[in-house]
């Protein structure tokens, strides 16, 4: 096709990537609707949108994982077919996935070369890769020990290996899918410096994210997606976060949580010297002590995998631990027969788990079956000692769905058929409506659209204002800062420090999250 070259002719340079009229449907769901976008070379182009807006689908089409139903792809002005990822690599596109695709027990060098070896003998390609890695390290601050195995590296470094893999394959266009989800703020800053360096060398970078702040910090141009459509493309310097949020959601949204200062009362939860050693003998929690008072939200900040999940599991009653936990001054059984989740619920601990797909819901169960999950022993849901009263459960579900604005409000729909936000509302409705003394909340807004985030935050604050204690775990620092009254930072199974939310900031928390204590900092 020749019209590709002429399209670029309007500007002085052809766009690095131009998509024209891309559409893709999965069954009845239109994931991408007639999307057109131009990404200019040597820029960082952000794509922002809520979960399910179609960002990942669009990038998967560009990387050859899906075939578009309609539309054309132009790379540097030339119409290009991308039937598979090999073709994408050949066209100079590199992708850094949210979940890294690295071989854990291979070295950095071996991972970089993997799949791009020249010939049957490994030594020449390894030597070549080592040479390139040295060059790249100097050029972009991309220094990684080439002989370290992946499992020895921190997450931030693993991500650099992914970037190096793409560069080794001569990628001119780099796509990063939610790259900061697993990074501390300082690691994220470092990543952004690397990306800016790559841009200044003429590379084109597409950054997919749902975090407005990252878009504002690092991109040159930003495209907004909503419900499978590209709603706007603007220069980053000419927009602001609230305008972007409005474009993402389609209405005005409150970015800050509206709440009065906390009025904390007596201790509801006291944790003393809690330690956990997991099945592999690794110590996940190291002498944790903390307390949550009635009428306050205590936030646990930290990079994922530093013991927050284990803490929630212990409190929720499905992981054994040593130490002491007191609820309303009474000790909780940590190892015996009454250490299970049923007993915890009966004593007034409700739990919105971090992973609603794996723990909070049974996706193939109906909404009404999920609405009693964990409380299925409660007397009001029984017909007699053995039989559950499905009618009572359905009626209860309907009422809760209405109060939490779950859409669609159909109890007999399987949980998997609800959107992420509505699934989370089902879990929240189930836990909050039990009127617990202590609510454990893990990642309340992960994979939840902005509109629902607002609602979920309001519900959590409302529970606090009723005088309940809330322990909030989130990897989103923004969420912790805006929701919590008091913040404890976890690193490597320990609590590095506690701050009042009103008296701290992202930088300070970021250092604690990286394990830097005041003395060292």
């Amino acid at each position: 096709m020749s019209d590709g070259a002429t399209t670029g002719g309007a500007a002085s340079v052809a766009p690095a990537i131009e998509l024209k009229g891309i559409s893709k449907a999965f069954g009845p769901v239109q994931a991408n609707k007639d999307i057109s976008i131009r990404v200019m070379p040597g820029t960082i182009h952000g794509i922002i949108g809520e979960n399910g807006a179609g960002k990942s689908t669009l990038m998967s089409i560009l990387y050859g994982f899906y075939k578009a139903d309609a539309g054309d792809i132009f790379i540097s002005g030339n119409r290009t077919e991308i039937p598979d990822s090999q073709a994408a690599i050949a066209a100079g596109i590199g992708m850094v996935f949210q979940h890294f695709k690295l071989v854990e027990n291979f070295t950095v060098l071996e991972n970089v070369v993997l799949g791009a070896e020249d010939g049957a003998r490994l030594t020449p390609s390894l030597a070549k890769a080592r040479q390139l890695l040295t060059e790249l390290a100097e050029e972009y601050q991309l220094n990684v020990d080439p002989d370290a195995t992946i499992e020895e590296l921190s997450v931030g470094y693993q991500q650099r290996v992914e970037i190096l893999k793409a560069l080794y394959r001569k990628a001119d266009i780099l796509i990063l899918d939610e790259p900061t989800g697993v990074l501390t703020p300082s690691e994220a800053d470092h990543l952004f410096r690397i990306l800016k360096g790559l841009r200044d060398e003429g590379k084109t970078i597409i950054l997919i994210t749902h975090k407005l702040r990252e878009i504002m910090d690092v991109t040159d141009t930003v495209s907004v997606m909503r419900r499978g459509e590209m709603t706007a493309t603007v220069k980053t310097s000419e927009t602001n976060p609230s305008e972007l949020a409005e474009m993402m959601v389609g209405r005005k949204v409150l970015l800050r949580v509206d709440k009065e200062p906390a009025q904390p009362k007596g201790n509801v939860l006291e944790v003393e010297n809690l330690s956990v050693v997991d099945e592999d003998g690794v110590q996940r929690l190291k002498n944790i002590s903390l307390n949550v008072r009635a009428g306050e939200i205590v936030g646990i900040a930290g990079v994922a995998g530093n013991g927050q999940s284990e803490l929630l599991e212990v409190l929720g009653g499905y992981r054994s631990a040593t130490g002491r936990i007191l609820l309303n001054g009474e000790e909780i059984d940590l190892t015996g027969a009454r250490s299970d989740g049923q007993t915890r619920r009966a004593r007034g601990i409700a739990h919105v788990p971090e992973d609603r797909h794996k723990e909070g819901l049974i996706l193939d169960f109906f909404a009404w079956e999920n609405m009693v999950f964990g409380y299925h022993h409660a007397p009001e849901f029984q017909k007699n000692p053995r039989f559950m009263s499905n009618a009572a459960i359905k009626a209860d579900c309907e009422a809760k769905m209405e109060r939490f604005d779950v859409r669609p409000p159909i109890p007999s729909l399987a949980a998997k058929n609800f959107s992420g936000g509505n699934q989370q509302k089902i879990v929240l409705a189930r836990e909050i409506e039990r009127d617990p003394d202590l609510l454990l909340v893990g990642q309340p807004t992960r994979g939840v659209d902005i509109g629902a985030i607002e609602f979920i935050h309001q519900q959590i604050v409302a529970l606090r204002d009723k005088g309940k204690a809330i322990l909030l775990v989130s990897v989103e620092l923004d969420e912790i800062l805006s929701l919590a009254d008091r913040i404890a930072v976890m690193f490597d199974g320990q609590i590095m420090g506690e701050r009042l939310a009103s008296e701290t900031n992202e930088q300070e928390l970021g250092l604690l999250m990286a394990g830097v204590t005041q003395g060292a900092a």
Partner: protein, 363 residues
């Protein structure tokens, strides 16, 4: 929304699978120089042509309902109980002990006790692998298979060395007392004036099997225990979160499973009026196919059991009347199992595409 509607998932997919299995079976029959149409006619004629054929089909189906439900309840807890065969053998032993222990005055009194005996023995045999799985992490597929062999060896030993009447050459228990003989379908239907052949061994157990289907449905979809079993089967991590004990669910699900398999013995042992070697005749394994095909739902299990009852009875007819070797029936059964169980996706995926096409046209 799911791509394939429920009715298609429950009916259309198994139906297409069966038709495919029959087509390939026909090709095999053609290849050995026989007439597949004739074979099918013989099967249908030999099963539905007279009440004896129907009686045999229902007799086999009764066995498969029990073992099918046994496998199905384990499936709901995501446990693969391959030990139905051994559990049914032990169930036979339990039934034989009960029947021989007491000079039963009437079958209505003997039957409940025989059921309890069969269920207890079957459950006990399933409990050991369940405990090994729950507490020791030994994979239940491996242990239940091994327990089939142990059951088989145990039965041979007991029948040859212990239970065989002195002087008999036949490795079987003595005949059960008169009061433990179950009424046959011919007796039951005869009482209301419907003639039914007394050649077929189908008996009152068939109605017990139907009752078991209903109780199964109640248990799985109406009780709290069933809810917990299904929750555990769908997601172990979610079950832990909800405070459902995996150990408890594994043990209970397997005990129910073993008990159901053991209950089969009221049909094949109590109605045979003595315990013989190899009385289970593979019904434990066919139960797996039945549960797979029936989607672990009692109605599905019932229908699949009838189909397999038909295959076994029709197969016997082919064997009797044609030169098609008996083994070929096993081939046909194997093909049905292969298509309905293992090759499910081969039908499902293209069917999903067809449904998608229709959806799009509507949209």
């Amino acid at each position: 929304m799911d791509v394939i509607p429920k009715w298609a998932d429950a009916i259309l997919i198994p139906l297409i699978s069966i038709i495919l299995a029959f087509i390939i079976s026909a090709l095999v029959i053609l290849a050995i120089g026989e007439d597949p149409i004739n074979a099918l006619q013989l099967m249908v004629q030999g099963t539905f042509g007279n009440s004896a054929g129907i009686g045999f089909m229902l007799f086999y189906a009764t066995n498969f309902i029990f073992t099918g439900l046994a496998v199905a309840i384990a499936f709901h807890a995501r446990l693969f109980n391959i030990g139905g065969e051994g559990q049914a053998m032990l169930g036979g032993l339990g039934v034989a002990f009960v029947c021989l222990a007491v000079p039963w005055p009437h079958w209505t009194i003997a039957l409940p006790f025989a059921l309890i005996g069969g269920a207890l023995f079957g459950a006990g045999w399933a409990l050991i692998p369940a405990w090994l799985q729950a507490k020791r992490g030994s994979h239940i597929v491996i242990t239940t298979i091994m327990f089939n062999f142990i059951a088989s060896a145990l039965l041979v030993y007991l029948l040859v060395e212990v239970l065989k009447p002195a002087g008999s050459m036949d490795p079987a228990t003595p005949r059960f007392p008169e009061g433990a003989h179950l009424p046959r379908m011919s007796d039951i239907l005869g009482a209301v004036g419907i003639p039914f052949s007394d050649a077929a061994p189908v008996n009152v157990s068939f109605f017990i099997a139907l009752l078991a289907c209903y109780l199964f449905w109640l248990l799985v979809w109406r009780t709290r225990l069933g809810y917990e079993i299904r929750a555990y089967g769908q997601s172990e991590s979610a079950a832990r979160y909800a405070g459902i004990s995996p150990t408890k669910i594994i043990l209970i699900a397997m005990v129910i499973s073993g008990a159901l398999a053991g209950c089969m013995a009221i049909n094949n042992v109590m109605a045979a009026e003595r315990l013989v070697l190899n009385s289970v005749e593979g019904a434990g394994f066919i139960g797996i196919a039945v549960a797979l095909m029936g989607r672990s739902h009692p109605v599905g299990v019932l229908l699949a059991s009838l189909l397999f009852g038909f295959l076994v009875q029709g197969g016997a007819e082919i064997d009797f009347w044609t030169n098609i070797p008996r083994e070929l029936i096993v081939v046909v059964q194997a093909l049905v199992i292969l298509f309905t169980g293992a090759l499910d996706n081969m039908v499902r995926v293209p069917l999903a595409k067809v449904f998608l096409m229709f959806r799009k046209r509507e949209a």
